[in-house]
């Protein structure tokens, strides 16, 4: 479980949980609710260098496909390969078993571009 209250959030509805030089990322509870039944997740390759705010994964419901944007720049160090056979985890536990990938932070200062839990809550309320 990656405590939602200490995560950072992107406007594109990803969360990032920073632990030392690595951030774990997934999509927010709000996002999984909007997307509805997740039936497929396409994850980046381990070792791929990603940029903050650039698409690096895809999450699909029965009706539509959505890009997932990396909340931080850096190298993908691990992915949640089990999502391939358990895409429903994204709905059931978006901050737990439904995590997407881990990225080794190239620019930890990028967290300044993200929202806190309270800011994100406000953002989805007004957005």
């Amino acid at each position: 479980m990656f405590n939602p209250e200490i995560c950072f959030y992107a406007k594109s509805h990803e969360w990032a949980h920073v632990d030392g030089d690595t951030a774990t990322a997934g999509i927010s509870d709000h996002a999984q609710h909007e997307i509805t039944d997740v039936v497929y997740v396409e994850l980046p390759q381990v070792g791929r260098v990603v940029e903050q705010g650039k698409p690096c994964a895809v999450v699909e419901s029965v009706k539509a496909a959505f890009d997932v944007y990396s909340p931080f720049s850096g190298e993908i160090s691990e992915v949640n390969a089990e999502l391939a056979s358990h895409p429903e985890w994204v709905n059931q536990a978006p901050h737990g078993q439904g995590w997407f990938f881990k990225v080794r932070l190239a620019k930890p200062g990028e967290k300044e571009n993200l929202m806190s839990f309270d800011q994100y809550r406000e953002f989805i309320k007004t957005g």
Partner: protein, 372 residues
């Protein structure tokens, strides 16, 4: 946007409303996967009031219907319905419809929502030579589909007279002094019923169904599940799988064309197509890896582009991607090797499979399928 008479019910039940060909309709309630599963295993209720109704009556109603339908309407007497295609002079499909015979010389034709106006114009244009009255009634009627193996149990409680209807049977009943039509038809590949009732009485009828269906597992369903259910069952969607440019033969629906019934619009063109050879046909594809194919995605044999998908989705029952698309020389399709669908820039391996993707189990064996 147009609203059906059940709009308030959808809002109350938490339906997620979307614009569907100009109609504000629920795409889902509890979720497409749950609704889809309910229809395969128990039952679900759909608002399909956007679909159109046209009454055709008069001494030459049958002659007129025989001319514009490629299926044989003379084979159905009062209390029976038939699935048919209306064809243009080139053999292309103007619409796919269900024709019900209510009484001798009185028929009800259910047409698609998006084609409703085109169909009425087509009817009127061709009815002029016949003693037949064409009466568009979509504005006055609402329509609900109750689908799934438990549907009969629900109907038995509410409309016992209709519970014994055979497949494609139709019954006219009176409710609150008004005529309603119940048929054993549907668009999900399961057993089920469709109700056509005047706008004023449909909300109460629908509430009754939902309320009394609960103990049989009835859930309100949206258009999302309707689409996945019908594609699994290999049922065509007008405007996506068939249209004015494709014939029933090309769509793999040659069985709706009855050659011995006498003349009908499109017959000559179809005969020509048959004698010259059918050059393209609709085939089914399934993905061999997890992934979601969608309409318009191109598919290939090796590096040769075969076509693009007409309808495609994730199949909730089979838990894999499925789709249909037109190919040239469809007879050779089963032997295609190294088939793939281009998904997000990657060729996902697939194979050609016979349609339908899913066939419901015979009644006694159904429990084998429901458990999952």
């Amino acid at each position: 946007m147009k609203r059906t008479v059940l709009y308030e019910e959808h809002v109350k039940m938490g339906g997620r409303l979307v614009d569907f060909h100009g109609w504000e309709l629920p795409v889902q309630f509890s979720g497409i996967l749950e609704e889809h599963g309910a229809v395969r295993g128990a039952c679900g209720a759909f608002d399909v009031s956007h679909m159109g109704q046209v009454f055709v009556s008069g001494h030459e109603a049958l002659d007129f219907l025989q001319k514009i339908n490629c299926n044989d309407v003379s084979k159905i007497g009062p209390g029976k319905a038939v699935y048919s295609h209306l064809l243009n002079e080139n053999g292309g499909v103007v619409d796919d419809v269900i024709v019900s015979c209510l009484e001798p010389r009185r028929y009800l034709v259910v047409v698609n929502a998006a084609t409703s106006e085109k169909d009425v114009a087509w009817f009127e244009r061709h009815a002029s030579g016949f003693k037949a009255a064409v009466e568009p009634a979509s504005e006055r009627y609402a329509m609900v589909a109750l689908q799934g193996p438990r549907s009969e149990a629900v109907v038995r409680r509410l409309f016992p007279e209709a519970a014994g209807l055979p497949r494609f049977g139709v019954k006219t009943l009176r409710a609150e002094g008004r005529e309603i039509f119940i048929s054993r038809t549907g668009y999900t590949g399961e057993d089920g019923f469709e109700f056509i009732a005047p706008n004023e009485i449909m909300p109460a009828l629908y509430r009754n169904l939902v309320e009394h269906g609960k103990k049989d597992g009835l859930v309100p369903c949206g258009l999302g599940a309707r689409d996945t259910l019908r594609l699994e069952a290999g049922l065509l969607l007008y405007g996506q799988d068939i249209d004015d440019e494709h014939t029933p033969i090309e769509a793999g629906y040659g069985w709706v064309v009855k050659w011995n019934k006498g003349d009908f619009i499109g017959r000559e063109a179809l005969l020509r197509q048959k004698s010259e050879g059918v050059k393209r046909g609709l085939v089914g594809l399934e993905l061999l890896e997890r992934g979601v194919p969608r309409p318009s995605y191109p598919f290939f044999e090796g590096s040769r582009r075969l076509g693009e998908l007409a309808s495609a989705t994730f199949s909730p029952t089979l838990k894999k991607g499925i789709g249909v698309g037109y190919v040239e020389r469809p007879g050779e399709a089963p032997a295609f090797k190294d088939v793939s669908v281009l998904i997000h820039g990657r060729k996902a391996p697939a194979r050609v499979v016979p349609l339908p993707f899913y066939k419901t189990a015979p009644k006694g064996e159904r429990s084998l399928y429901v458990q999952s």
